[in-house]
């Protein structure tokens, strides 16, 4: 088991290095003069020269890479061109909101998708299956930003059931930061009202973000359960009269979710990509809306740092998913 974990962590190192090199190359290869691009439109020639020196654009590329790695290692990404706040600080403060949103969506998608997939498989080729199949192909095809706006239109603007945007209502004082996640912090400090308000704000963005993932998880669970239902052990348990419900929801399900778990890892990338859009529509104060704003305003330091962070989070989550995978299917770590 330990060797499996170690092996998986070690194989992630080349991807992380590659990621560093890609973000490093982006700013150096694409624009005509990276120092001018980084300094922004309003920079004086002195500022441009200072940046040129700081990033080593006047020195060999290997030195530049070294300087870049040193900056990343110290979590020093410079200052945002617009807010003049350190980018590293902004990222640290915004990461919890994004994780709250993506995990909220992932939990929603898993908690609904797995049972729905089982139901679809049990009712194979009957009407619940047809409806769920139609909904799941629609869920993958829907544009997240349009779905977000439509949800706002219906539930926030027309029905006024849920808040339109943001993370907390005006006038609600956020709890003292412990983990950075509003919901967890307010629960830890027993501020139930604040937690409720934060939760209400999370509902629409999380639902919007979960749609694609929900569809995929439903599909893969259904396929997995259908396959397991053909296995001999299922026929045997049925023949000896084992309770059908327990057979399906415990034994068949456990043998079927592995494909869905792999998908969850792949989905995380899609969720983070989707979070960019959903956060922008709902003004959610996370990495995604920060990234969109930086891209729209050509705030390159923020853009590079946020892109890197997203890549790192994605890689780390994939390792975690592989570990869960190994726990569900021990054959995997015996092979390695």
């Amino acid at each position: 088991m330990l060797r499996f974990i170690l092996h998986r962590v070690l194989t992630a190192i080349p991807s992380l290095l590659g990621l560093l090199i890609v973000t490093f190359m982006l700013i150096r290869v694409v624009p005509a003069d990276p120092a001018v691009a980084l300094a922004g439109d309003s920079a004086t020639p002195q500022q441009i020269e200072a940046i040129r020196h700081e990033y080593g654009f006047d020195r060999p590329i290997i030195v530049q890479l070294g300087l870049y790695l040193a900056q990343v290692a110290r979590f020093n990404f410079g200052e945002s061109q617009f807010s003049h706040r350190p980018v590293g600080l902004d990222l640290r403060q915004r990461l919890p909101a994004t994780l709250e949103l993506t995990f909220g969506a992932l939990i929603l998608a898993t908690a609904l998708g797995i049972p729905l997939g089982v139901v679809a498989a049990v009712y194979h080729n009957r009407w619940p299956d047809f409806i769920l199949r139609f909904l799941s192909i629609t869920g993958i095809a829907v544009a997240a930003f349009w779905f977000a706006i439509t949800m706002q239109l219906i539930f926030a603007m027309q029905l006024e059931w849920l808040p339109l945007r943001g993370e907390l209502s005006n006038g609600v004082i956020p709890p003292a930061a412990i983990t950075g996640s509003l919901i967890i912090d307010s629960l830890l400090q027993g501020q139930w009202g604040v937690a409720g308000d934060a939760l209400r704000h999370l509902v629409l963005p999380a639902i919007t973000l979960s749609v694609g993932a929900l569809a995929t998880i439903t599909r893969f669970t259904r396929a997995g359960v259908l396959e397991t239902l053909q296995k001999d052990f299922v026929a045997y348990e049925r023949a000896v009269g084992y309770p059908r419900r327990r057979l399906i929801w415990v034994y068949v399900l456990r043998n079927s979710v592995i494909a869905a778990v792999t998908q969850i890892g792949l989905l995380f990338g899609a969720l983070i990509g989707g979070a960019v859009v959903v956060e922008a529509v709902f003004d959610w104060p996370g990495i995604g809306s920060y990234l969109v704003r930086s891209i729209l305003t050509a705030d390159y330091k923020v853009m590079m740092a946020a892109t890197l962070l997203v890549g790192v989070v994605y890689t780390v989550v994939n390792i975690l998913i592989d570990l869960v995978h190994g726990w569900l299917d021990p054959r995997l770590w015996e092979q390695s």
Partner: protein, 279 residues
């Protein structure tokens, strides 16, 4: 012909095919089909933000332009972008996958590592960053999307090439002295074509979605182009009053992407009958 009969029994795939054919027709004859073809650019301020009626079945936008016409006219742009992006991505990704799969050694290793890195980042984020660095425009958006989509082809073709390389017919070709280029492009590539076509079909739908996001965020099409994503972003200032302004372009994206996905799924089932029973 058996394959056609099999396809004809797959109802979702047939629906997908019908949708794709209709969207392609709309894209081609759009200017003749739209009730007010000039409304791509002309504005009529007296009729702004009219709800759906018999004169304007999808209502009008903030400049009084007919939404139905703009939705119809948007199809061409969406398909053009998707076709170009998927075409360029395949043109980059397929040869790289062939070489990586056939060669082995450090060539293969380095191509696949680069592919992995690209796949380790959400495509949307990479495409957004690239598009901004190249100064935002529709062309930049297309280049950015193509530069971030090729790894999907590379990984697929790599696996196919690896599989085919050990096939008997490749050994036979080597035995009679066929060159590497000949084996790769005239023999392995045609055999790998079906999964490539499936990937491209699904990629069309996927690209339409991502391109719409770029348009929505202002990194793609520019006003007054009748781009679906851009239109939805323009509509946001007029909600909740003018619901039709955002609903119809969104439905157009949904139906188009749905069509490509359903067709792609159907084609995949034809190509790989093992997956058949899982549907």
């Amino acid at each position: 012909m058996l394959i056609l009969r099999k396809f004809a029994r797959d109802i979702p795939a047939l629906i997908g095919l019908v949708i794709v054919v209709v969207v392609v027709i709309v894209a081609v004859v759009g200017p003749w089909l739209a009730p007010y073809p000039k409304d791509a650019y002309a504005s009529h301020l007296l009729q702004r933000l009219k709800p759906p009626s018999s004169a304007f079945p999808f209502g009008t936008d903030n400049l009084g332009r007919d939404m139905l016409s703009r939705v119809i006219l948007g199809a061409r742009g969406a398909l053009e972008v998707a076709l170009i992006v998927v075409g360029v991505a395949a043109a980059i990704g397929v040869p790289l996958g062939l070489v990586a799969g056939y060669r082995g050694g450090w060539v293969s290793e380095s191509i696949m590592r680069v592919t992995d890195v690209f796949l380790a980042l959400p495509q949307l984020i990479l495409a957004l960053a690239l598009a901004q660095l190249m100064t935002p425009s529709l062309e930049s958006a297309m280049i950015a999307l193509a530069l971030t989509y090729w790894p999907y082809f590379t990984r697929l073709v790599f696996a196919e090439t690896r599989r085919l390389q050990s096939a008997l017919f490749v050994d036979a070709l080597r035995g009679i002295g066929a060159g590497d280029a000949r084996i790769l492009f005239l023999h392995i590539l045609p055999n790998a074509m079906s999964p490539i076509i499936v990937r491209a079909t699904i990629g069309m739908g996927f690209t339409i979605l991502v391109a719409a996001v770029l348009g929505f965020l202002g990194m793609g099409a520019t006003p007054p182009q009748p781009d679906w994503g851009l239109t939805i972003s323009e509509s946001r200032s007029y909600l909740p009053g003018a619901w039709w302004y955002s609903i119809f372009p969104g439905l157009a994206i949904l139906v188009t992407v749905l069509g490509f996905n359903m067709l792609g799924d159907g084609l995949r089932d034809l190509v790989d009958p093992r997956l058949r029973r899982s549907r």
